[in-house]
């Protein structure tokens, strides 16, 4: 590093060094510095310099700057704080600093930079570089360097053909390219379907499993995800879904090295993953720490000389996972999705309190806004209503703002709802409504000809309450009377088509970006002794029981409790209701729907 010739510098022949533009840039840098580090800039020369646009985040290497400085002065300290766009130089004297200033400021352009460097004098410098704490790993994390040989690495890379992806699934995600083997990983829900295997892990990779066994890894890995990261690409921080994969997850790095960031609460650890290394995530590191890779072209790394940047090349990672059969039994419950999906998550006692806070009260609060957003009838519900004969007595259980009560056909339509805000709205629209609980319908047995209940019983928080609601609807029906029930489906994507609920979200946001960012929503709310996850709207459901945000125009957020139904669940529930037979079960735009018919022989 003796001559500046090697560094390819462009020395701009600027007649006026302190032209207006550089003055403006200096001024802006002064303010930023004062705000960031409480360091004042100086109009007069000092022994301290700041290169305003020469920090680690601009991708400048320590070595490059050292090249420039070595040619000018003999002794100095270069301080490059992480996460900053500027760096500092402590010179031996004001004279040295002036020399550097005059040579660099507005004149030197480093390779890869858009404009010349801007320099200013400062009153002091920050004490040291922010030393990164990569000395300690998260508990449960191991890195084996040189896990495979260079030759093996080349062999592995040769097996990959990203253009040809017929037999395997290759997804062009915004942030990276992906291939799956064994089981397809569904982005959005972050699950795999254990009953739907795809092409198994190729023979070419068998030797890796043998190597894993040598390192005492107990699993026979059955799911492989290969990611290809171009420079500038990354993966958002996430925890692999507990219920989907077993404890130990392996990740083999090929090609370019990179920094992987691990986070847990306020702990933040950067782990440098060199090529050919194997990362082993178990226990806490696997279950409680998020891991991710920043979308950047450079990584900030520690060297003997101090902090510097390292350019990224193409990185390929092989992630081996074992698909879980059964429940996750981890001890990190606050990060675990598993317990929410198992049978009864609230008992009968807390159910009504939960529904009161997260259904009834919310509907009272949002009734006006709800009314403004609920007008269009769902076509298949209209079709059902259209099939009813003249003189039908129809009851709409959970009628909301009465969108199915309108229409002047000769059907007597009655609505009922728990919310007084919503029944008031119905009344103002001239509908016949009353206020009641759907678990206790105030109508006689066999009194109505048809019942509809659209998007209602998914607000009931126990299976028994949902069953009882259906049983009440059947009770009030006359023999041969029909009942149409709609509930929200856990499956928001069916037969390769997204529901309109998901589509609406994608209209507003780039799909791939969304997929990347929403690996798992971490928000949880505890109420009545149960902990409920908060759903990220317009994404697939990761849980069966959750709180779904409702945003008012004012930005105020309300959370509504939902139990989303899985395929077959609604029909199963209906079979447990006596006196009715299932006429039809169907899926309609993200909802499970059933048409029941009241039996004849049950009549008194």
């Amino acid at each position: 590093m003796s001559s500046s010739d090697e560094t390819n510098l462009t020395i701009e022949d600027l007649k006026e060094k302190n032209n207006k533009k550089s003055l403006r840039k200096q001024k802006r840098a002064h303010h930023r510095l004062l705000r960031d580090m409480n360091i004042k800039c100086s109009c007069q020369p000092t022994q301290y310099l700041m290169i305003c646009n020469g920090g680690l985040v601009t991708g400048i290497k320590r070595e490059t700057l050292q090249c420039v400085l070595d040619a000018l002065i003999s002794k100095y300290t270069l301080i490059m704080p992480t996460g900053k766009s500027y760096c500092f130089i402590t010179c031996n004297s004001k004279e040295d600093a002036t020399c550097v200033y005059n040579y660099i400021h507005g004149r030197i352009k480093l390779p890869g930079q858009n404009g010349p460097l801007y320099v200013c004098y400062t009153e002091t410098v920050p004490s040291t570089d922010n030393v990164m704490s990569n000395s300690t790993f998260p508990p449960g994390l191991t890195l084996i360097e040189n896990f495979i040989t260079k030759k093996q690495e080349e062999t592995l890379l040769r097996t990959l053909n990203w253009d040809e992806c017929e037999s395997v699934t290759s997804l062009q995600l915004k942030h990276r390219q992906v291939k799956h083997f064994g089981y397809e990983f569904e982005y959005g829900t972050n699950i795999v379907n254990p009953d739907d295997p795809i092409a198994p892990i190729p023979q070419d990779y068998e030797f890796l499993q043998t190597l894993f066994n040598k390192h005492n890894h107990k699993y026979k890995y059955d799911q492989l995800t290969i990611n290809k990261y171009l420079p500038g690409q990354g993966i958002p921080p996430h925890i692999d879904t507990h219920s989907v994969f077993e404890d130990t997850i392996l990740s083999l790095s090929l090609g370019s090295a990179c920094i992987m960031n691990f986070k847990k609460e306020n702990q933040n650890i950067n782990v440098f993953l060199p090529a050919r290394s194997l990362l082993i995530m178990t226990g806490e590191a696997r279950y409680a720490w998020t891991h991710g890779i920043c979308s950047r072209h450079n990584d900030v790394i520690e060297t003997e000389n101090g902090t510097t940047t390292k350019e990224r090349g193409i990185r390929i990672s092989f992630t081996f996972r074992k698909v879980r059969r059964g429940d996750c039994c981890c001890t990190f419950k606050e990060y675990c999705d598993n317990k929410y999906d198992t049978a009864a998550f609230v008992d009968a006692k807390t159910a009504s309190g939960l529904e009161d806070s997260y259904v009834h009260k919310v509907y009272e609060e949002i009734s006006n806004h709800f009314n403004e957003t609920r007008h269009k009838q769902w076509p298949n519900v209209s079709k059902f209503l259209g099939s009813l004969e003249e003189g039908t007595l129809l009851l709409d259980v959970g009628c909301g703002n009465g969108k199915y009560l309108c229409g002047d056909r000769n059907i007597y339509k009655m609505g009922c709802d728990r919310s007084s805000g919503l029944t008031d709205i119905c009344r103002k629209r001239g509908f016949e409504v009353l206020q009641c609980d759907c678990l206790y319908l105030p109508y006689k047995d066999y009194s109505v000809d048809a019942v509809i209940s659209i998007a209602v019983i998914h607000h009931l928080s126990t299976r028994e309450r949902r069953r009882r609601a259906i049983s009440e609807m059947v009770r009030v029906l006359r023999p041969t009377g029909k009942c149409l029930i709609y509930v929200w489906a856990k499956e928001q994507r069916k037969d390769s088509t997204d529901s309109s609920y998901l589509k609406y979200g994608k209209k507003n946001k780039d799909e791939t970006e969304k997929i990347g960012q929403k690996e798992i929503s971490r928000e949880r709310i505890s109420e009545c002794g149960s902990t409920l996850p908060v759903h990220e709207n317009r994404t697939n459901f990761a849980h069966s029981d959750m709180l779904v945000p409702w945003k008012k125009k004012s930005g105020e957020r309300f959370l509504r409790y939902y139990h989303v139904f899985q395929e077959g669940e609604l029909a199963k529930l209906c079979t447990e209701v006596s006196a009715a037979i299932i006429k039809e079960v169907y899926y309609d735009q993200g909802n499970w729907c059933v048409i029941l018919e009241k039996c004849i022989d049950i009549m008194k």
């Binding site: 009504s352 004969e389 003249e390 003189g391 007595l393 000769n410 007597y412 009655m414 009922c416 728990r418 007084s420 029944t423 008031d424 009344r427 016949e432 409504v433 009353l434 206020q435 009641c436 609980d437 206790y440 319908l441 105030p442 109508y443 006689k444 009194s447 109505v448 000809d449 009030v476 006359r478």
Partner: protein, 124 residues
Amino acid sequence: MKLLTHNMLTSRAIRGVTVGYPLRIIAKDIRVSEVDFNPEYIARIIPKLDWTVLWKAAESIGHVGELPQILIEDFESNDDFLKKVHHVLLEVEVINGDLLCPESGRKFPINDGIPNMLLNEDEI
């Protein structure tokens, strides 16, 4: 609340109540408004009614008019009769008042035409 709705309402969900039907009406405000008359529609509804309950309800709120206490035969072809039924079923509305459980005496308030049939947890 229209009298057609009242014809179906019960308070049987209250613990200890065995029939809870028909509910008594204490009407404070009644509104009579004109509704389009469709004789066929009314003729189809009549067989579904508890006629006695309808008649008594109409009488109790002073709107029974000339409605006979016993349902006539061949009502389908009697437009004059159907019109009277139409009036009682659909044109008379209880706007404010109470519904009373015949067994327990529990009051269900009617406000602005909306009966509040919600029960407290200790009643069920």
